[in-house]
């Protein structure tokens, strides 16, 4: 049914906070270390300035997401002031708007969480990553295992009833037993939501260096697959819903923000390097933090570059992004959005994938099978355009 999903016009706001105390070995996101509280202040002012000038989509704002970097490094009062500025332009900003903030366990206290709750943050995404001191240290995380436990308990005490935990599997030299331990220990903290990522080795990171030099040994494909299968089975057993390829939640706790990306709903990204999408257009800001602050102070756009998707490209993306969700792609919704029939546009692809047992249809819904979820990239690539070499 369409009704229980977002409206086509619902949109989200992504706010990028680039500050970190230290850079994790695997991270290739747009982050900066060694910036002070003064910089936080001017950066938050710049965000407000960008927001003031932004052209807003006409639908309902249903999610605000502070991502990073380490948003929890910024003083809660600055977050609060920014949310006030947001509310000035969005009249229907009720308590049902999902307001998520990413928190690093090494940067937070109970008071911190209390304040965040007070200024309107209603969902926390806590980056745990692993439950062994050795792995946390190897990843250059700034916290230990006890910090993770304490952060979750503080969040609960502060009144957060929607807490998500992040964990990474496939760490260098990580054993299957260690991953079992990580997941089991995290479940003991009773999260409402879990994001489980397989570690990606990104060029230019210390992790990539170590792998190239052979000082860091990545687990082989089979061990990685065992880890993923273990998570799948365990979380299913505990009643979690695998609502998106890397995300699980207790029923009703699926993240709205997470899913807006996959439905081609509009999202506005504010901040250095932030990405936005609206009606077939994607664009992104400069990555440089100082430059971002200065352009906003000067009232200039922070736009770096963008792309315009053709009607066909939008349809392609709508399908393969939508297939990330457990609920799949709704053919009626596809037709409402594009005035074309999904099965006509992608007739051969859908038939081929169905034959291969990677996708299945249930009435109006096209979704990945269990095997399709394991081989999601294989499925997605089928929806890619042929690109010239």
């Amino acid at each position: 049914m369409i009704e229980d999903d977002f409206l086509l016009t619902d949109w989200g706001l992504y706010v990028h906070i680039p500050f970190c105390q230290a850079r994790c070995t695997y991270c290739d996101f747009n982050t900066v270390t060694h910036m002070g509280v003064d910089d936080h202040q001017s950066y938050m002012d710049a965000l407000a300035a960008e927001w003031e000038r932004a052209i807003l989509p006409s639908g309902r704002l249903i999610s605000v997401f502070f991502g990073g970097g380490t948003p929890s490094l910024v003083d809660p009062s600055l977050i609060g002031r920014f949310l006030d500025v947001v509310r000035e332009r969005v009249r229907e900003f009720g308590p049902d708007v999902e307001v998520t903030l990413e928190a690093n366990p090494g940067t937070v206290t109970r008071e911190h969480f209390v304040k965040l709750r007070q200024v309107g943050v209603n969902r926390l995404s806590i980056g745990a990553q692993a439950m062994q001191e050795s792995h946390l240290k190897a990843l250059n995380r700034i916290h230990g295992v006890t910090d993770i436990r304490r952060a979750v308990s503080d969040a609960r005490d502060a009144g957060f009833d929607n807490v998500s935990l992040d964990a990474i599997y496939g760490l260098p030299a990580q054993s299957f037993a260690e991953w079992q331990e990580t997941l089991t220990e995290l479940l003991k903290l009773k999260p409402d939501h879990l994001s489980l990522y397989r570690l990606q080795v990104e060029e230019g990171t210390p992790l990539a260096d170590g792998v190239r030099k052979g000082t860091l040994i990545m687990p082989d494909d089979d061990r990685m697959a065992d880890m993923a299968d273990f998570a799948e089975a365990t979380l299913d057993d505990r009643g979690f819903v695998h609502y998106e390829i890397s995300n699980w939640s207790r029923p009703g706790f699926d993240s709205r923000h997470n899913q807006l990306y996959w439905t081609l709903n509009s999202y506005l990204g504010l901040g250095a390097g932030a990405h936005s999408y609206h009606e077939g257009r994607r664009w992104w800001n400069y990555r440089g933090v100082r430059r971002y602050i200065e352009t906003q102070r000067a009232g200039e756009p922070a736009l770096d570059d963008g792309e315009i998707l053709s009607h066909l490209e939008q349809m392609r993306e709508y399908v393969w992004l939508g297939l990330r969700r457990q609920r799949g792609v709704n053919r009626e919704r596809f037709h409402t959005k594009f005035h074309e029939h999904l099965d006509e546009v992608f007739e051969t692809t859908v038939a081929e994938l169905t034959d291969l047992g990677l996708v299945e249809s249930q009435d109006a819904i096209l979704k990945l099978t269990g095997r399709g979820r394991d081989l999601a990239n294989t499925v997605f690539r089928k929806f890619m355009a042929e690109v010239a070499p």
Binding site: A228, I245, L375, E386
Partner: protein, 612 residues
Amino acid sequence: MSAISCQCDGGSYLEPERIRNFSIIAHIDHGKSTLADRLIESTGALTHREMTAQVLDSMDLERERGITIKAQAVRLDYEYDGQSVEMNLIDTPGHVDFTYEVSRALQACEGAILVVDAAQGVQAQTLANLYMALEHDLAIIPVINKIDLPNADPERVIEELVEIGLDGTEAILVSAKQGIGIEAVLRAVVQRVPSPKGDGTAPLRALIFDSRFDSYKGVLVYIRVIDGELKVGDTVRFMATEKEFAVTEMGVFRPHLTAIDRLSSGEVGYFAAAIKTVQDTRVGDTVTNAQRPAPAALPGYRPAQPMVFSGLYPVDSQDYGRLREALEKLQLNDASLTFEPETSVALGFGFRAGFLGLLHLEVIQERLEREYDLSLITTAPNVVYQVTMVDKTILRVDNPALMPTPGDIVSIEEPMVDASIITPTDYIGAVMELCQERRGTFRDLSYMDPKRAMIQYRLPLGEIMYDFFDQLKSRTRGYASFDYHLVGLEAADLVRMDILLNGQIVDALSVIVHRDRAYYRGKALAEKLRELIPRQMFEVPIQAAIGSRVVARETVRAMRKDVLSKCYGGDITRKRKLLEKQKEGKKRMKSVGNVEIPQEAFMAILRVDDPS
């Protein structure tokens, strides 16, 4: 015009007594090109500023690899005791693949400088080149190069020279790098190399020792005039190809092409005659005057005979036309490259190309990829087999996939080589073991000196192609040197081994192997393929089979996960580009019966380690 010395611009006519034609021969890396550069520099053919390192290796690839692929020539004007002498240095290719080209270049000379490294001493190619020079009755000037090296041992090298039948007292000590002994070499060339003997009044006979395609002038034919003379405007005939052309330009190499209007008996130069392809100007052929033809050609010509064959396929089937054009262009300049269209079930449309040897293959492959920007799949190289069929017909099989079924075959013959390996005595056992493994027949063992021995084996050429040289180097810690020459065909118990993926024969992976070694080769190849073929959606059985008998089996297990779980904070563009790139990567694989095979897999047979 008299034949008396006349130094006029644009040409000079010298008495043959004042001409010296010589070549430099050496084992690889013994400093042949550096010495040539010094000779050019010190006779002023080029100023120091004009010298780029190693002038004669003019192709980028040649300079990078430190090898000479094409023969080249340069004319040096040298003052000897107040008289000017014309010295023609003909550089020879330095690799066993080009043995025939070397022999033609030597035929154009009366003398040869034999360069030997003062530290390494006499090596296998030193000997092979020396014997070839002696076959052509050339005067030999032994030069011991690199005497500046700390580990140089000229005394020992002189002893080795004596051991191989040269006069050790004639050896000149040189450091080409530091310019030591260059003058002595030049004087020795004048003193010891005989002047050319030819009949200036007889009908023209000129030997083609190389040719090169020029976009403006057509083919430049490099010749040594033996008898008679050649003038601009003459109509020449190539005696082997029987083609005739009118000469439009001729000249000498200084080393830049310098036009003159006549080339006489004893001289070395080039001519152009609006010739469109080097196929008409075969190395070794004789040029004569069409109006006054010579009764007989010069001896020794044979058509270029490719020894090694490989399938060349464009990764992107749309590049087939471009590949053909590129091969045609390379062929303009390389008469020994052959190719004809071929179709493979696995690889689609491509070409079966013939090469003089493995190095030639590698060079052509690299030039296609670099200069013509082609992405290629090259199948494992193979030799050409002569197959006698039950019905008495004889087939030449240059593609393993086309080997007839055993029931139709009486016998299969394969090309054999006689190989000479010079090694420190410590490694004699290791070398012999390697040769035995490669189905070699022992022929001789002799000692160069107390520490070094020469081992001679007869080996199948096909066996040398499976990393023989690398194995030889690794088993002798790099000390052994190796040279070989073809000696004909021998019958052997050979069989075709097919590789099946998912039950389907992949024709481009078929190989010809000796029956006794089929089991081992099949097992090693299947294991290698298991490593090289990425996991697919389904389990892929790999089988090596002779006829219907499976000799080895491996399995590529099904891919378990192919999923990108990281969320790039709304950066869908990046996520999409990553997937598009992967899709592009998949396109570069060849799909056979639902199995995607990466390029490297088709060369897998070459990377199979032999038992040791």
